[in-house]
């Protein structure tokens, strides 16, 4: 947790380490909580096809549908946050397909069934639509009681995935938004 590290860093210069660490943590918590709450109060409206999306750009192509990603941009199943491969199958940490209970699928010899490709959602969009994909910026909203990070998939494109003109959004250096994805954090809001 960055807050904990920062508070401890503040306290590290003091001889009364325990007290200051707790006090620093409290101060940071109050300050950041107030900031997030204030930020979210004014930004909760105007949802589009998923919560937090405030403009009309369409979803990036995703193996399950809703463009939920993990922190590295790989696809997750929106309903439960489970990692999926490009075929939409739930997988384990090594990319091998698992059943609903999380058990590895095995072939008749008892070996795990082979892993299917797993592609970052923005990369898959770039490959499918022929542009150099890049994740530049993001914005945050409160969705379902958690902070959601909304991520633009950017490229040097004229048109976005919807087919009409692309906008700059949170893209930099001349890139424009092609499609959008989201990452659900565990931070309550």
């Amino acid at each position: 947790m960055p807050e904990l590290q920062l508070s401890e860093a503040v306290a590290a210069s003091s001889s009364r380490r325990g007290f200051l660490a707790r006090a620093g943590r409290l101060l940071l918590g109050v300050a950041s909580g107030g900031f997030v709450a204030a930020a979210l109060r004014s930004q909760k409206a105007e949802a589009y096809h998923f919560c937090g999306h405030i403009y009309t750009t369409g979803s990036c192509p995703h193996p399950v549908g809703l463009p939920r990603i993990d922190r590295n941009g790989f696809p997750l199943r929106a309903v439960d946050g489970k990692a999926v491969d490009d075929l939409g199958r739930p997988i384990d940490a090594l990319g091998r397909p698992v059943d609903a209970e999380g058990e590895l699928w095995l072939d008749p010899d008892g070996n795990p069934l082979p892993s299917a490709p797993r592609t970052r959602v923005c990369s898959a969009a770039g490959r499918e639509f022929g542009f150099g994909p890049r994740v530049d910026g993001a914005w945050y909203r409160c969705c379902g009681g958690r902070v959601r990070k909304l991520v633009d998939c950017c490229g040097f494109v004229r048109n976005r995935i919807n087919g009409d003109a692309a906008l700059t959004g949170y893209c930099y250096r001349g890139r424009k938004v092609f499609c959008v994805m989201y990452y659900d954090t565990k931070i309550k809001c």
């Binding site: 949802a47 589009y48 096809h49 998923f50 919560c51 999306h53 009309t56 750009t57 369409g58 979803s59 990036c60 192509p61 995703h62 193996p63 399950v64 549908g65 809703l66 463009p67 199943r77 929106a78 309903v79 999926v84 491969d85 490009d86 075929l87 939409g88 199958r89 739930p90 090594l94 990319g95 397909p97 698992v98 059943d99 058990e103 590895l104 699928w105 095995l106 072939d107 008749p108 010899d109 008892g110 069934l113 082979p114 892993s115 299917a116 490709p117 797993r118 592609t119 898959a124 490959r127 995935i161 919807n162 499609c179």
Partner: protein
């Protein structure tokens, strides 16, 4: 038309026979052009939607003919009447036959006539379409010729029950054809059974936890080992690390070799290939003391079961970065990448000559595909739904605007997985894995005709 054919009887028996033959030939010619053309078109643009549409049209035709509904749509075009006055009768009847054979002219007596072009298009197969064409031509020619020989033209019009019975028969035939087509689409060879291997008329497979089996001329023989492979005049199996290569006809051993870690085998008259853990190896049967590595899987990649035809080994390599089918000429060491996919799973190839059979599992379907070894047009011989469902594309209480779904039609996913393959001159074999408890799977071996 009956009257026109009957008119030839006035010129004698031979003239009548010539006229009747010309009419039947014209029908066959016209029907062949149309239906074979549709078959070729279907082969070029084969999609699941075509098959679904054809089956729907056929089902509607069966219902219509069985319940005696009016045949709709009807065709308002007539054959040119002047031909029979201006041309010799055989030539006129030949041309009438061509026009009627196309199905684009005159009264449509049964709704089944509309199902046949759709089925031909969906079939996407020239021999099958030709058979449909001949059936269509026969169906049109017989009533005309029979009535021309022995009855009045008005007999069907005066006895509508005759036409009713004909339509019932047509509906039954169409239903039978659909059912037979579905049954022929995939025959079960063995349950449980998988990992097929085929050479000439012999088929071998593995029954999990039991042993390999060999089927020859309808007789199934258990083999004294597991993971059987056949190729050329040989058959191979293993018991633990002890591998036996035997003559296919007598099962008499020609080579016994210990190969640590052996899991899967492939054999030809000159080579024995096996997969052991992360590598595939080969040894020449003429000198079994030296073996060589064919391929090795690094880190998280996985190598599939090897298949061998002559000197060429094919196998799949699958990883999270992509999957591909590779071929290695074990005589020269030359390597080829046959297929590659970044977003699909290519599995368990087998080959026969220049034909390649393999499984392609993508986001929206699983397919058993047959194509040339190099690049070229492929055909889907068998298909299963995808392995995962999709969500609605939008969250609850949100609009659908901007959503993007992976498959055009919401798929009904399956847990059955297409797996290992084998290819003969007439039949493609594929293992279907069915899930059981604890992530385990049970194999079923299916046979799918290469044509049709």
């Amino acid at each position: 038309m009956v009257g026109t054919v009957r008119a030839a009887r006035h010129d004698g028996r031979w003239a009548f026979a010539l006229t009747a033959a010309a009419f039947a030939s014209g029908l066959a010619l016209g029907a062949s052009v149309v239906f074979v053309g549709l078959g070729l078109l279907g082969a070029w643009a084969h999609t699941r939607a075509l098959v679904v549409a054809a089956v729907a049209i056929a089902a509607a035709a069966i219902l219509s003919d069985a319940s005696g509904l009016r045949v709709r749509p009807q065709i308002p075009f007539q054959v040119p009447e002047r031909w029979r006055r201006r041309m010799p009768l055989p030539r006129a009847l030949l041309l009438y036959g061509v026009l009627l054979g196309t199905g684009l002219t005159t009264f449509v007596p049964a709704s089944a006539a509309w199902a046949l072009p759709a089925l031909s298009l969906a079939l996407g197969d020239v021999p099958g379409s030709f058979a449909i064409a001949l059936g269509f031509a026969t169906g049109r020619a017989l009533p005309v010729l029979v009535l021309a020989v022995g009855a009045e033209e008005t007999v069907l019009a005066e006895r509508p029950h005759g036409l009713r019975v004909l339509r019932l028969l047509t509906a039954a035939s169409l239903l039978l054809a659909l059912v037979a087509g579905e049954v022929r689409a995939a025959d079960t060879v063995a349950v449980p059974g998988g990992d097929p291997s085929v050479a000439a008329a012999d088929l071998a497979w593995q029954r999990p936890g039991v042993s390999g089996f060999l089927s020859r001329n309808g007789t199934v023989t258990p083999l004294p080992g597991s993971d059987p492979a056949i190729g050329g005049a040989l058959v191979a199996w293993h018991v633990g690390p002890a591998v036996t290569v035997a003559a296919r006809d007598t099962l008499g051993p020609v080579l016994q070799q210990t190969l640590p870690g052996v899991q899967k085998l492939a054999v030809s008259d000159r080579w024995l290939v096996w997969r052991a853990g992360p590598e595939i190896r080969v040894l020449p049967l003429s000198d079994p003391t030296r073996s060589a590595r064919v391929a090795e899987a690094k880190r998280v990649a996985e190598l599939g079961r090897p298949a061998l035809d002559g000197d060429l080994v094919v196998y799949h390599r699958a990883s999270a970065a992509g999957s591909w089918l590779a071929a290695v000429d074990v005589a020269t060491g030359k390597r080829h990448r046959l297929r590659f996919a970044r977003d699909a799973l290519l599995l368990n190839p087998s080959l026969l000559g220049t034909s390649l059979l393999y499984v392609r599992a993508s986001r929206c379907s699983q397919q058993l595909r047959l194509g040339p070894l190099g690049s070229g047009k492929e055909r889907v011989l068998y298909r299963l739904p995808p392995l995962a469902s999709q969500d609605r594309g939008h969250e609850r209480h949100h609009t659908s605007q901007g959503e993007r779904l992976p498959c055009p039609h919401r798929p009904k996913p399956t847990t059955r997985t297409l797996w290992t393959t084998a290819l003969s001159a007439t039949t493609a074999y594929v293992t279907v894995l069915r899930p059981s408890r604890g992530g385990r799977t049970t194999p079923t071996l299916l046979a799918v005709p290469r044509q049709g």
